[in-house]
């Protein structure tokens, strides 16, 4: 372990190379489906993301949605469950369906030469789903078991508790994870009717990315999906309230060797002029490994494997989320350091070096996350819900470059002030309530 006497300088960055422009076509099909197709060379694969609005205030919606997403691929248009899966495998393809409070996402990929046949199979699922009684029964039982597994995870318990505290018990965003009793009551008839109202092209977006000419991809989509018609209903859901903040809620999980901490508040949407500054402020605080929060409670104190803070964009609004799992015996000290870092970044200006570091990180990461076919497809599908697209991705680096240090400090002062956060801690209440109460009001 010999140390060199004269330190060597770290090599400077060379001139950045500009990314090649991607060829993109965008069209609204006759049935109202918005299609975005991007030619992206790389591997001979094509990525598909179909994003349908799925927001609803109906209390039965989460349970029905959970079973729908599992049962949707269990048969369609003359294919039984295994037949449909085998037909996909022949194309080198796989598709899956997932739902959350905002959207239903049908995602998949295939060998690029098989896009036409893949779209044909997807069309069958969209227009002639089976929802066979036995398959629905199988999936209902699986969803119930998987919910019990999910709720055995402290992070899930904490996120649910935080969402209820932030948005109120009855809001769809607080009921994302279904209740097992409601799932057990879901019938095939309900699924058919849910499919009929929500699985519609008008208002939905299809993203196709691969080494295929964009106009050809759009033509293939038009041909395959012509018989799929109708419009997704406009949701009537309550607006997001301002989260209450206030005392820290402790949820008891006896014997827990770690405490799961979650904090949140409302944030700015991507199109808000202040968003780039908030994005950079969040990175400096806890949004990347070189953040203040990570360097303090992980790399200096070893309280955790890693804290994270991030901005989540929902259809009804954006949200700043902090999460960390800390050892039970240092829960008090870890919260103390967290409040300290939040208070510090809210009260004192950030430095120019810090801003420069996160600026480059944000620009580089955006380029990296859209440099693969699947990454680009997922990014474009997520943006589509907000009416944004590839031009937003391409223009964002300039917005980050224009953001000043003062703007970042101002965003931190407004959004990272600890008094504005709503907080939940899931852990061994007997061990952690005392230390947490020393820092501020606690309720259980």
């Amino acid at each position: 372990m010999t140390r060199q006497l004269t330190p060597k300088p770290v090599p400077a960055l060379t001139t950045p190379r500009v990314a090649k422009t991607l060829r993109l076509s965008e069209d609204v099909l006759d049935n109202g489906l918005n299609v975005v197709a991007v030619r992206k060379p790389g591997v001979p694969i094509v990525e598909v993301r179909l994003r349908l609005p799925f927001l609803s205030a109906k209390p039965t919606h989460p349970a029905q949605g959970a079973v729908l997403s599992e049962a949707m691929l269990t048969g369609a248009a003359g294919f039984d469950r295994a037949g449909l899966a085998a037909a996909l495998q022949e194309l080198g393809a796989d598709i899956s369906v997932s739902v959350d409070a905002d959207r239903l996402l049908l995602g998949g990929n295939a060998l690029a030469t098989n896009l036409k046949r893949l779209l044909g199979l997807i069309a069958s699922v969209l227009t002639e789903p089976a929802y066979d009684k036995d398959e629905v029964a199988t999936e209902r039982a699986r969803v119930v078991e998987n919910l019990s597994i999910a709720r055995a995870r402290p992070g899930i318990v904490a996120s649910e508790a935080l969402a209820r505290r932030m948005w109120g018990d009855e809001h769809p965003y607080a009921r994302d994870l279904a209740e097992p009793e409601a799932v057990a009551a879901v019938t095939p008839g309900q699924l058919r009717s849910l499919h009929k109202s929500f699985v519609r092209p008008g208002g939905a977006s299809l993203v196709l990315v691969g080494d295929v000419a964009p106009t050809r991809m759009i033509d293939l989509a038009q041909d395959a999906l012509a018989t799929w018609t109708g419009k997704v209903p406009k949701p009537r859901v309550p607006e997001l309230r301002t989260p209450p903040g206030g005392s820290t809620l402790v949820v008891d999980r006896p014997g827990s060797v770690q405490s799961s901490v979650r904090m949140g508040r409302t944030a700015l949407t991507r199109t808000d002029p202040g968003y780039p500054a908030l994005q950079l402020a969040n990175l400096i605080f806890g949004g990347y490994f070189s953040s203040r929060w990570t360097e303090n409670i992980r790399e200096d104190k070893g309280y955790t494997y890693g804290p994270h803070s991030r901005i989540d964009h929902h259809v009804l609004g954006s949200e700043l989320n902090l999460d960390v799992e800390v050892a039970t015996e240092v829960t008090g000290p870890a919260l103390l350091e967290t409040w300290y870092e939040l208070g510090k970044i809210a009260e004192l200006p950030v430095t120019a070096d810090e801003v420069e570091s996160v600026r480059q990180y944000a620009i580089g990461n955006l380029a990296m996350s859209t440099s693969t076919q699947s990454g680009l497809a997922s990014t474009l599908a997520a943006l589509s819900a907000f009416g944004l697209g590839l031009d937003w991705v391409q223009a964002h680096p300039a917005r980050l470059l224009e953001t000043t240090v003062d703007e970042v400090s101002a965003a931190a002062a407004e959004f990272l002030a600890p008094s504005q956060l709503t907080s939940v801690v899931v852990g061994d209440a007997e061990s952690i309530t005392g230390p947490l109460a020393a820092l501020g009001p606690v309720e259980s």
């Binding site: 090599p11 950045p16 190379r17 039982a141 078991e145 055995a152 309280y303 570091s357």
Partner: protein, 436 residues
């Protein structure tokens, strides 16, 4: 009618090899389609090489490699990568440990410098060791101790399937072992296993080959040559009778099972291994697979089932010995024997009757599609090149995999199924301590 088999894509990469005087093997693969590069260094040491009484040490040591180096203070490694617009990570496997960066291509030389600097001399001291010991304990708490099915089955199944300390111990480590690790242990481990001659460097993406080789020589060339350790054989004789064990999980709401079978040497008998790999896909890939149909859809015995090769699900990640694992969660604790019986029946059916028309072709097409898709990100590519070079001796093997898979016959898959006999398996039952 049997569908015509797909023409399988054959990926082709422009690979250049070079070995430095100090023994470092280098693989460079240009791809100028996007302005990003991947830099990966793999050291030929992993969980299996940990000394007795030091379980989890290879992983703890991996953390120490990020704590500063010859020319870098603590925290600087992370800051230099991220302020260049890049990301980094490392991971510890049974047979190797990797370190990598994905970077905008204008940071290529910086990435090479950072890897060379820690290959030269990581900053291992009491303070960094004490800090990372706590971080690693918290990593184990979050990934294993505080969640349902944490570490199941990769931490626990090897102790049933294998006998030697090297193959069977807990790779994440017991807290007592981790806490007894010393700075001297770490320095010895570095001197022994982190020699340039015991490593492979792969660089992929937006780069010029000659220029890159020059930069590699500049930054890694001056690291002094040390002898690479001779790797012992970790081979074990096959099981002769079924083994059973239980694992208590205080958080799990429903039981789970992992059934492990030894499979052929991935390096010495690759074609036989590939037959087992295709068998694994026939058994559990998608809703048309044999075990999904039987166990999930028909008999409702399990809520999910997966079959994979390699403790972490990567069939090319380990040398001999390695395992095929069938893993499932099931709602009814008394159904374990029925599940095992059904698995045996399905394996016997394949061994006796072979496969349905078209079954092997469709499963193979999907598998090749997945292999190709996984190579899209330049950092994945760099990691794969380095791994195939280190484990299999040839990065080019990746390009040949579709052809090698195409040569596997139904009879090869039947033979693989016939080899998975009850008396050759290890069964680990997870007892659900969190059941309502």
């Amino acid at each position: 009618m049997v569908p015509r088999p797909q023409k399988l894509p054959a990926p082709s990469f422009d690979l250049t090899h070079h070995t430095l005087d100090n023994g470092l093997r280098v693989v460079v693969a240009p791809d100028r389609s996007a302005p990003v590069v991947g830099v990966a260094v793999l050291y030929d040491v992993g969980i299996r090489s940990e000394p007795e009484g030091r379980t989890g040490f290879a992983h703890l040591f991996e953390h120490l490699m990020f704590q500063g180096s010859a020319n870098l203070e603590k925290l600087e490694h992370f800051r230099y990568v991220q302020s260049s617009g890049g990301t980094f990570n490392g991971s510890t496997h049974f047979d190797y440990t990797n370190y990598f960066e994905a970077l905008p291509s204008n940071a290529l030389e910086r990435g090479l410098f950072l890897e060379a600097d820690r290959m030269l001399s990581p900053r291992i001291n009491e303070e960094n060791l004490a800090n990372q010991l706590e971080v690693v304990k918290n990593e184990i708490r979050v990934n294993v101790m505080n969640r349902p099915y944490g570490g199941f089955p990769w931490i626990y199944l090897p102790s049933v399937l294998f006998d030697t300390f090297a193959n069977s111990h807990n790779g994440y480590g017991g807290f007592e072992d981790l806490e007894s690790a010393t700075v001297d242990d770490a320095k010895d481990f570095f001197n022994r296993y982190y020699a340039p001659a015991n490593a492979v460097l792969a660089v992929a993406g937006d780069l010029n080959v000659d220029e890159t080789m020059g930069l590699v020589e500049k930054h890694f060339g001056e690291i002094k040559k040390r002898k690479a350790p001779k790797r012992p054989s970790f081979a074990e004789p096959p099981l002769t009778e079924e083994r059973r064990a239980t694992h208590d999980d205080p958080h799990a709401p429903i039981p789970a099972v992992a059934v492990g079978y030894r499979v052929p040497d991935p390096v010495g008998s690759l074609d036989a291994l590939l037959a087992h790999l295709l068998l694994a896909e026939v058994l559990s890939d998608g809703d048309a697979s044999r075990l999904q149909r039987r166990l999930v859809q028909r008999d409702h015995l399990v809520t999910d089932v997966s079959v994979y090769i390699g403790e972490f699900g990567d069939p090319f990640d380990e040398r001999d010995p390695t395992a095929l694992t069938i893993s499932a969660h099931y709602p009814d604790a008394v159904s374990l024997n029925a599940i095992l019986r059904a698995i045996d029946e399905e394996l016997a059916r394949i061994a006796q009757d072979g496969l349905e028309p078209g079954e092997l072709d469709r499963v193979r097409t999907r598998l090749v599609s997945v292999l190709v898709r996984d190579m899209d990100a330049v950092i994945s590519r760099a990691l794969e090149f380095a791994k195939f070079e280190l484990i299999h001796g040839r990065a080019e093997l990746i390009e040949e995999l579709p052809g090698r898979l195409a040569a596997v016959t139904v009879d090869d898959v039947r033979a693989a199924a016939a080899a998975l006999q009850p008396d050759r398996r290890a069964v680990l039952e997870l007892i659900a301590g969190g059941a309502r």
